[in-house]
Amino acid sequence: MSTSFLFLCLLGLGSFSFLFGRRRIRALSGAVSVKQHSRDVYHGSFVALCAVLVPLIVLLAWSGLSPLLLDAMLEDFLRRQSPDLSIGEMGVLIAKVKAYSVGSLPEAFANDLIRNGSDYFALLRSNSNTARSVAVILLALGGLAYGAGKLAPRFTARPAVERVFEVVMIIASAIAILTTIGIVLSLIFETFRFFDKVPMMDFLFGTSWSPQIAIREDQVGGSGSFGAIPLFAGTMMITFIAMLVAVPIGLMSAVYLSEYANPRLRGFAKPGIEILAGIPTVVYGFFAALMVAPFLRDSGADIGLTLSSESALAAGLVMGIMIIPFISSLSDDVINAVPQTLRDGAAALGATQSETIRQVVLPAALPGIVSAILLAISRAIGETMIVVMAAGVAANLTANPFESVTTVTVQIVMLLVGDQEFDSAKTLAAFALGLVLFFITLMLNVLALYVVNRFREQYD
């Protein structure tokens, strides 16, 4: 039976168990005068969970683990038939056998070894399948019988069911946390492998980035240099330009929307600005590369400036536009959270509206605004698509925004596209860059949280 059919069977059995449990507890309670502990629906759920939970786990585990086991058994089988294959050849053979068994390898490429292997593999698979189906269905029926046997008017079905759901929720939140931990650990691990090949100081403080290294031993080519300073400098410059655009525009639009705009205008202007956040960054990217960068180059030429056609300025400007809704939306929320009584107090002293905003409202909202800006910076640092398309790939160490620069994220993309060996310094460098990037954005987010908690005024 296929996985999906088994799954449907479990679903059907679960529904049946629920109805059965509910009906049974009604019958049991009706016969005696004891007050029932849990409501009918909990008894039904209890039986359903007994019937479904364990088989479901077995089904998932079996589906996940059995391919590994089957592959190992197939390799063992083939090894016995032809003991002198190299590891690479064995890998190719296994792939061929599997392809043949599902019919995607043409008959002409097959030999006896492949045919035998394929037959053996098909047998293994069908045995595993049958065993799985039997195990799942027996477990389900056994669970149903166990659950039904437990039912009694004084049986505490509700706490049992609620405990199960609590565990399910714990697992759900654990998945997110464990994934994060896993990613960070793999970043750290691969980064240390990178530092085996390239000294850490050369990476962090080197000023030359050219990761081209020989793919084959005998190839003519540089040994590569992995000084990340130009990348971080480029990232910082583009982020800085983006913030120059986004902070004033975002803040002023937030102030306008929360303090001056009438409710009707606010009603469509706020979602309108937030739509900016919904535009895919790749669209911003070609907007930057195809329209903004050429426009800047041409208008720069008109006033006698030389702009490269991929400039930090173009990428920074467009990224700034992209960041505007972050700053305006978050700042708008914190400005709105400033109590009206403070505005009234300032107005009653004869402060004009702009005095009230500058001297009372904005200072009160400042911690929130600062944290909005920090979050926007971490977003800008991690942004990839715009800079890939508009900023260029040349690792120039320059302070001139008219030149082409590159960023950490762009170089991670560049390192990983194309064919590489997984353990080459070039590939591992991507992990090191990723780790540093992660560290920087993490610190910014922690700082943002700290600022908010430390300086927030408590209004009741």
């Binding site: 009438n262 505005r343 107090g345 107005a347 009653a348 009160a364 005024e457």
Partner: protein, 258 residues
């Protein structure tokens, strides 16, 4: 219903109506308020007393959909005429709110805020003097003189309210409006502020909205009773509380309605 018995009128309201959108909150109020007196506005919730108070410094202007009709004159000048600048008006008419609302700034900056925005102090020494004098008048100086740089929000509720009073009188207004200034305070803090009002009335005209009948009786020289957007009765506080002319007033002050 004009008071003819006194010549010392500071604020003169004539046929004041207020609409919030379609709903009418005040129905043509005529009321004279005297200089150097405390006038208490009393009445059940929603009767329009706070709305009337906010007409005197045009704080209703900031509420969307609020329209004010009739005239309110201060020293014979209609504050609703086009010639009046609302910023300048509010410098003459200070206000203390129901909930203490110190700015999230230092105690010093809270008091100095008004003088600063109105350019009333040319140098630091003058400003220091204004801050000290205002805090002294508000009875807060002794408690805060050693920590003027501490945040205004770090004070207790009663201290915060006195800070707000100091802030309001720092710009030297002619009139101080108080909207239930003691409703968030305990009896001891309330007593301090009531004493303060008695002291302040020598220099200012004070209008106070209060829910406490005892407070109105203790501190005010005149009382006006509002009910459902109408001014039902007003006059000397003693007269209102001992022999009210109107049935409704009597019912309210004796606790039968409210």
């Amino acid at each position: 219903m004009t008071d003819t018995e006194n010549q010392n009128v500071k604020i003169k309201a004539r046929d004041v109506t207020v609409h919030y959108g379609e709903a009418r909150a005040l129905h043509g109020i005529d009321l004279d308020l005297n200089a150097n007196e405390v006038t208490a506005l009393i009445g059940p919730s929603g009767c329009g007393k706070s709305t009337f108070l906010r007409c005197i410094n045009r704080m209703n202007d900031v509420i969307d959909g609020c329209r004010v009709g009739g005239t309110v004159s201060i020293d014979e000048q209609n504050i609703y005429s086009d010639a009046v600048d609302v910023v300048e008006l509010r410098a003459r008419v200070g206000m203390v709110f129901q909930k203490p609302n110190p700015f999230p700034k230092s105690i010093y900056d809270n008091v100095a805020y008004g003088p600063r925005i109105h350019g009333m102090a040319q140098d630091r020494a003058t400003l220091d003097e204004v801050v000290e004098r205002s805090l002294k008048r508000a009875g807060l100086w002794e408690e805060v003189k050693d920590r003027l740089t501490a945040s205004g929000t770090s004070l207790s509720g009663g201290q915060q309210q006195r800070l707000c009073i100091a802030r309001a009188i720092a710009v030297n207004p002619a009139i101080v409006l108080m909207d239930e200034p003691c409703s968030a305070l305990d009896p001891i803090a309330t007593a301090v502020i009531e004493e303060l009002m008695e002291e302040l009335r020598r220099d200012y005209t004070i209008v106070i909205v209060t829910h406490s009948m005892q407070q109105a009786a203790r501190i005010s020289q005149r009382t006006a009773y509002f009910h459902l957007g109408d001014l039902v009765e007003h006059g000397q506080t003693e007269a209102i509380f001992t022999k009210p002319q109107n049935q409704q007033t009597e019912a309210y002050i004796s606790g039968k309605i409210g």
